[in-house]
């Protein structure tokens, strides 16, 4: 418990104060939605798989280790298991709990066959600690039940419990205890909260308690117990302490820890007979002063450390840790139990100064409840009396510097403001009802209510704090879900729409003019393009009542309409045209019935000059590679280049038309529109085009899935000039290079030549390869070896050779 920003609570413990019928997962969810974030739910004790009843058949010394025994154990597995055991109490004939292979013990410890000092061990004979049912690590459990060897011990050992690890925000120290959490659960489920039983203490014990500075310690209460009888605590208390992660020691210490975990109030028990003077004086340390704390460390306790003294000698560090010399021992007869409220800043200072964090300091630093000190004493005295650890005195001492500290606050909550902020339509009576669940007692005052805030809710200081409590009790899950209320509704991202918009922007930025052409087409257009009968573009949808014959078909391609745009813009006069359109075409379904297929196409056309007339150099016409360069750029952006293949359309001979195939699906086509087709559209300049079926490419996540690390080492560049047979394309060459060359960053072709000079049907490619490694600067030899490999592969796979001249 404590330590980090959370609290570990035991479900069994919580059930002492409130009924909990919900299963742990439901409870965890409900608490989380109620503002108590449950970080983990751990089921412990009681449930074991592969922990079975076993009997020790033989037990002998380990040949190589004095403290280990080698046992044969009947665990119902047929042949007895060989198990090495370190417990002093292991002996033949004993009934034990055996964790066999596959068992998972506390802390995720897995049992498997292993060797201990050279002897095979096939399991483990368990102690309480390993099973998480006790704190006795001294020896193995000696079972007093009679079962068949191999019988599962699931549910037969210890008490099962569920531990909830709850995140507690710094403003809610009242939740740092089982009762505090139970109070929230009672409010959440609207159940009765059972207060712990108290001892009837009365004030008036004549015992001097003084402070050097009231602002360091505003309240110090003390109870007195005589007839101390040191011994172990009862099992129920030890079980709960263990569940909450605290090691039981002996009764007097255990009860103070118990009350800390139960009510959140740190207590400390002093051996009253070891206080030099019968009185308490709280003061700052003095320079050069030192004392031994409970952990047996001598600590310098200077001016930044707040001390509990017996008038002179320090007996404890206030709110952090007690002193060694006043510690309870077996011979203690009388104790003084301290229950105080220290200034959070003073405790934090002490804790920092001494580099000492404890359960106590954790709570004091968060400003606990000043009103609880005496109640905590009443509780601890009740427990002491009940378990027979001592005899509490009837009277107690209480030093209170300022009464106001423990007066409940009253805050006015305006109903209208609460509704305004939360968005509810609650009445004042609703608010009273809701708040009462958290022991916030209120009375209606017209439309508003006056709320009395108990001292344990130090965090509630103004109206808005109460409004938050109202919202929490009303249920965040219910806010805005009332019947008859409009919903908050937000835009959904349309990836397709975003992709299309970005694509258009990209082309526009690359110098394309966007056009929007008619959805209609001339039924004669497919013929003009010479699309064959099997070409889907030849099966158009016909309008039964068209405006004109030339508008009586729906377009099956953007090309005819776009060619007409070129025609209309008189390319010669215009000097150069580069246009695109992203739009639908309409294709008749095979069966010819129903709605046509609407396919989104990106089509781009290029004609005449590649750049405007200017003084820097010669103007040239668009060529084939201007077109493919733009297409490559779009395809790369679409993330499609990897699986894309470009092939000449077979039927297109002698024309220059090519097709892209993406995983066996047509993805588009491109090329030079044949002159005779253009003539039919009255165009006499060369027109290049590409036409992509945008729907084929996945709209999202086409880019990188994750970032690729960038090498900090320099690149090595190598140029190769190779001679290839006519049938070998550059993409063949590039694929081989990419496959073979380790550390290759890029391949760029910088020269291409095809001609007689090279001999019959040969071509030469010169390309630059860039190599770079993530691990270091590549040396010449490594790169040379790679080049050799590449050349060998080019030779073997493609009959491509190094150019010698």
């Amino acid at each position: 418990m404590g330590g980090g920003a959370g609290v570990k609570v035991s479900l069994n413990w919580l059930k002492r104060y409130v009924d909990i019928e919900e299963d742990p997962a439901t409870l965890a969810h409900d608490l989380t939605m109620f503002g108590l974030n449950v970080e983990s739910v751990e089921v412990c004790g009681g449930e074991y798989t592969d922990v079975v009843f076993g009997r020790v058949l033989e037990c002998g010394r380990h040949p190589d280790a004095d403290k280990l025994s080698v046992c044969t154990v009947d665990a119902g597995t047929g042949t007895p298991l060989n198990i090495v055991c370190g417990a002093p109490n292991v002996r033949a004939g004993l009934s034990v709990a055996v964790a066999v292979q596959g068992a998972v013990l506390k802390g995720g410890f897995k049992i498997k066959k292993t060797k201990l000092r050279g002897v095979v061990s096939e399991g483990m004979i368990c102690s309480e600690i390993e099973l998480g049912i006790g704190d006795d690590a001294g020896g193995i459990i000696e079972l007093d039940m009679e079962l068949e060897p191999g019988a599962s011990l699931d549910g037969r050992l210890g008490s099962s419990d569920v531990i909830l690890d709850i995140e507690v925000t710094p403003n809610r120290p009242d939740q740092l205890s089982h009762f505090g959490i139970a109070r929230e659960i009672a409010a959440l489920y609207m159940r009765e909260l059972r207060e712990p039983e108290l001892f009837d203490l009365e004030t008036g014990y004549d015992f001097p308690i003084e402070t050097e500075d009231d602002s360091d310690c505003s309240r110090y209460s003390a109870a007195f117990v005589g007839d101390i009888n040191i011994g172990p605590s009862p099992k129920w208390m030890r079980d709960l302490l263990i569940s909450a992660g605290v090691k039981p020691i002996y009764n007097i210490v255990d009860v103070t820890n118990f009350v800390l975990l139960e009510m959140g109030q740190p207590l400390h028990a002093f051996d009253r007979d070891k206080l030099g003077r019968d009185g308490i004086f709280i003061r700052r340390g003095r320079s050069g002063e030192s004392m031994y704390t409970l952990d047996d460390i001598e600590r310098e306790v200077g001016e930044d450390v707040l001390l509990i003294t017996d008038g002179e000698t320090p007996v404890g560090v206030a709110g952090v840790m007690g002193g060694r010399d006043s510690e309870i021992t077996g011979s203690t007869k009388r104790v003084l139990i301290e229950s105080a409220w220290f200034d959070p800043r003073a405790v934090r200072r002490s804790s920092r100064e001494l580099k000492l964090d404890t359960e106590a300091s954790y709570r004091f630093e968060r400003e606990g409840d000043p009103g609880i000190t005496v109640r905590a004493l009443m509780r601890v005295c009740r427990l002491i009396a009940d378990i027979g650890a001592g005899k509490p005195e009837k009277l107690h001492a209480d030093y209170l510097a300022d009464r106001e500290l423990i007066e409940p606050r009253t805050i006015t909550l305006r109903t209208k403001q609460a509704n305004r902020l939360i968005g509810t339509r609650l009445g004042a009576d609703d608010l009273v009802e809701l708040l009462s669940r958290l022991q916030l007692i209120s009375v209606e005052d017209g439309k508003d209510i006056n709320v009395t805030v108990p001292t344990f809710r130090r965090d509630i200081t103004e109206e808005v704090d109460l409004i938050e409590e109202v919202a929490r009790l009303y249920g965040y899950e219910n806010i805005g879900r009332e019947e008859g209320r409009c919903s908050s509704l937000f835009s959904e991202v349309s990836i397709v729409d975003m992709r299309n918009e970005e694509l258009c922007d990209r082309l526009a930025a690359r110098g394309f003019a966007e056009v929007i052409t008619t959805s209609f087409m001339d039924p004669g257009d497919p013929g003009s393009f010479e699309w064959g009968e099997s070409d889907p573009r030849s099966r158009h949808v016909e309008i039964s009542n068209p405006l004109t014959v030339a508008q009586s078909a729906l377009r099956t391609s953007l090309l005819p309409g776009m060619l007409r745009v070129i025609r209309r813009n008189a390319p010669v006069e215009r000097d150069g045209i580069r246009i695109f359109e992203l739009a639908k075409v309409f294709l008749q379904r095979e069966e010819g019935r129903g709605l046509p297929r609407e396919e989104l196409h990106l089509t781009a056309l290029f004609t005449r000059r590649s750049a405007p007339l200017q003084w820097h150099g010669e103007q040239r016409d668009f060529d084939f590679f201007d077109m493919t360069g733009e297409a490559e750029s779009v395809l790369e952006w679409l993330g499609a280049t990897k699986d894309l293949v470009m092939e000449r359309i077979k039927a297109s001979e002698p024309d220059f038309l090519f097709e892209w195939i993406l995983k066996n699906r047509p993805a588009g086509n491109c090329g030079m529109i044949p002159g005779r087709v253009l003539a039919r559209f009255d165009i006499d300049t060369r027109v290049y085009y590409f036409d992509l079926l945008i729907d084929v490419f996945p709209p999202g996540r086409s880019g990188r899935k994750s970032y690729i690390r960038i090498s900090q080492y320099p690149a090595v560049k190598r140029d190769l000039s190779v001679l290839a047979p006519e049938r070998v394309t550059f993409s063949d060459v590039r694929n081989v290079v990419k496959k073979r060359a380790k550390h290759l960053e890029s391949v760029r072709l910088f020269d291409y030549y095809r001609g007689d000079r090279l001999g019959e049907r040969k071509r030469s490619y010169a390309f630059r390869m860039t190599f770079r490694s993530m691990e270091g600067t590549l040396d010449d030899e490594t790169v040379d070896r790679t080049i050799d490999k590449v050349l060998a592969a080019l030779q073997n796979e493609l009959q491509v050779t190094l150019r010698s001249e």
Partner: protein
């Protein structure tokens, strides 16, 4: 060549000789040669450093330090001389004679004006919580008319206005069918806009086109009211046309909404004074709108008692024409470059300057 064993004097000698060589080099080439001779991988200082091992151990750090000092010093000398020499003979004038000569340009490109208007409208509604949904251009008669509460004898169903493929299939005359399709597949609450092309069988003239673009919106929830409609529309108009635009709603008729409203805004040509754009009225019609008719909800499978909603629609060309004073609707699909390129240079077509 036997390597000389370096001592302090020989190091200084080498260093001084090297500095002379570097500072006296008169061309970049001689300078580079000097660098190789003295500082290169096989240069004299480097080899001196390499043979340092031959010295007695106690002298090595001293001599090594001297060599490194010289290397550093010579490096600086080299860099300085290099900069001097390249400065005097390398740097050419980057813009001979005239820096105002036109820069090197590529063809410019840009989006179609209709696309930009659609985008700006989409953007505004998108930010208001509307999602973008599209549907087919070729549509079933059912979605285009029947499900939208168009009675069989409604003039819009007349063959004059609609392009038919056959008895059941037509080119959508409005983008509203998208809304019906969307409602069929989704439960309320929903808030969508659907931009797209629509078709009317009308003989084109300067103010009528057989195909044009529309954007329609739909909002359905438990308690959507006419007040919400007026709010959203007014916000849109202020965003798109500027905060000065005044908006008015007047009763009108559309079969699929009731109550319904025609939305007018102050003419942006005359700001309400009356001009040729608004035909002297000071107001221009901008869109039609209304509360979704219960019959439409029934067709979509919604219970008209548990949900309400509004719908609105506007023509894109009309807005662009009004905004830019375009005199002929046929310009938009005409794609004359001289028309298109006029609209390339601004990012936002909506709000008036």
């Amino acid at each position: 060549m036997s390597e000389e064993i370096p001592d302090r004097e020989s190091i200084d000698r080498i260093g001084e000789e090297a500095s002379r060589d570097i500072t006296e080099a008169s061309e970049l080439e001689t300078l580079e040669r000097a660098r190789i001779v003295w500082l290169g991988r096989k240069g004299r200082l480097t080899s001196a450093l390499r043979s340092i091992g031959k010295l007695p151990e106690d002298q090595r750090p001293v001599v090594g330090g001297m060599i490194n000092e010289w290397k550093e010093k010579l490096g600086v000398l080299f860099d300085n001389r290099c900069a001097e020499l390249s400065g005097s003979c390398r740097e050419e004038e980057p813009c001979p004679g005239d820096a105002t000569l036109p820069g090197r340009r590529n063809w410019e490109g840009g989006l179609h004006i209709l696309h930009r208007v659609i985008r700006n409208i989409k953007e505004i509604f998108y930010r208001m919580g509307y999602s973008i949904v599209e549907g087919p251009d070729v549509e079933l008669d059912y979605y285009n008319f029947e499900a939208l509460n168009f009675p069989a004898d409604h003039p819009s169903r007349d063959l004059q206005d609609t392009f038919y493929v056959n008895r059941d299939i037509l080119l959508r005359t409005q983008t509203s069918p998208v809304q019906v399709r969307f409602m069929e597949k989704n439960e309320p609450p929903l808030r969508i806009i659907s931009p797209g092309r629509v078709y009317r069988n009308e003989t084109p003239d300067p103010s009528h086109a057989a195909e044009f673009f529309q954007i329609e919106g739909l909002y359905v929830d438990k308690n959507v009211s006419l007040a919400d409609l007026l709010n959203d529309i007014t916000w849109f108009i202020h965003q798109f046309f500027g905060p000065d635009a005044r908006v008015r709603f007047r009763p009108h008729f559309f079969p699929f909404t009731e109550p319904r409203a025609e939305v007018d805004m102050t003419c942006f040509g005359c700001k309400g004074e009356g001009c040729s754009i608004c035909q002297k009225t000071g107001w221009i019609e901008i869109m039609g709108a209304g509360m979704v008719h219960p019959n439409v909800f029934k067709c979509a499978g919604y219970n008209p008692d548990s949900v309400t909603g509004f719908a609105f629609g506007m023509g894109i060309e009309r807005i662009a024409m009004l905004k830019y004073g375009v005199d002929d609707i046929r310009r938009f699909l005409g794609n004359d470059m001289r028309f298109l390129e006029q609209f390339w240079n601004k990012t936002w077509v909506g709000v008036q300057e």
